[in-house]
Amino acid sequence: MKVKEIVRILDARILCGEDMQEYTVEKAFASDLMSDVLMLADDNVLLITGLVNMQTIRTAEMSDILCVVLARNKKASREMIDLARDGGIILIECRYSVYQTCGLLYREGLKPIF
């Protein structure tokens, strides 16, 4: 699923990485526990999370996750946006809960990792 479709489905806002909307994610994973995210070996993964701090972005960077959706209407700090931009990570804010976010994307065909 392309990032631009994710943005449309979630009626979301891109904070950085606007020029990478053609990037395609193959699967999605939702977690507020970064330790679980770091266990993933898959590539081209979308991370959906309600955990909003610098380590959310660092975890994505280390895991080669290029697109992160911040759910529950959480707001990223300026430092988070700068770090994401520096790491080539597309950062998206959306007003839906994690459950709703996952449901909407799943219904449109985005598969889970497991």
């Binding site: 507020d32 526990l33 970064m34 330790s35 679980d36 770091l38 266990m39 955990l51 701090n53 610098m54 380590q55 959310t56 660092r58 975890t59 960077e61 280390m62 895991s63 080669d64 430092e79 790491g87």
Partner: protein, 166 residues
């Protein structure tokens, strides 16, 4: 006041072909805003050396887990990275409480992390086992009350070589 010393980077070209890189980064205990900075520098360095992406990911996931542990538990620490033509060696050492029982700490789910660490998305007792999963070779030495030294070895040309070196 906490002072962060920027990392020192030295690059040498050996025998015209093999690049050798050495750098060190301070890790400040308790400073979660900067946790991951050292591992990020490792990732950037490995990318410039054209290391295989899968090896880069395994390396930096392991070093990041170790870095988060230093920030979560220790007063301060250091990440020392040496890259040559065949291996990546990362040593993360800290001045901290140490680990009483390394074998017990390796068990998935065992954690002594504070609620602050858990709020940052860590502390579920999976860091050490994930480091072991990702590293080609992992060696941990710890002295309670003094500190911990973690050595991560990665092979640039296949896991078995590094494992047999140990």
């Amino acid at each position: 006041m906490r002072i962060v010393v920027p990392g020192r980077v030295e690059t040498h070209i050996l025998s015209g072909m093999t690049e050798r890189m050495h750098f060190e980064h301070n890790i400040v205990g308790g400073d979660f805003t900067r946790a991951g900075y050292a591992s990020s520098q490792v990732k950037k360095a490995l990318k410039t050396l054209d290391v295989d992406m899968a090896i880069i990911k395994r390396t930096v996931v392991a070093t990041y887990e170790a870095e988060v542990n230093v920030v979560a538990h220790a007063c301060n620490g250091m990440m020392i990275v040496d890259i040559d033509g065949s291996t990546i060696q990362v040593v993360i050492q800290d001045e901290g409480p140490g680990i009483e029982d390394v074998e017990q700490a390796m068990v998935e789910g065992f954690s002594t992390a504070s609620s602050e660490v858990r709020e940052m998305g860590f502390g579920a007792g999976m860091g050490l086992s994930n480091m072991k999963k990702n590293a080609d070779s992992l060696h941990i030495e710890s002295e309670p009350g003094k500190g911990t030294k973690v050595e991560i070895l990665m092979a640039l040309d296949g896991r078995e070589e590094v494992r047999s070196k140990k």
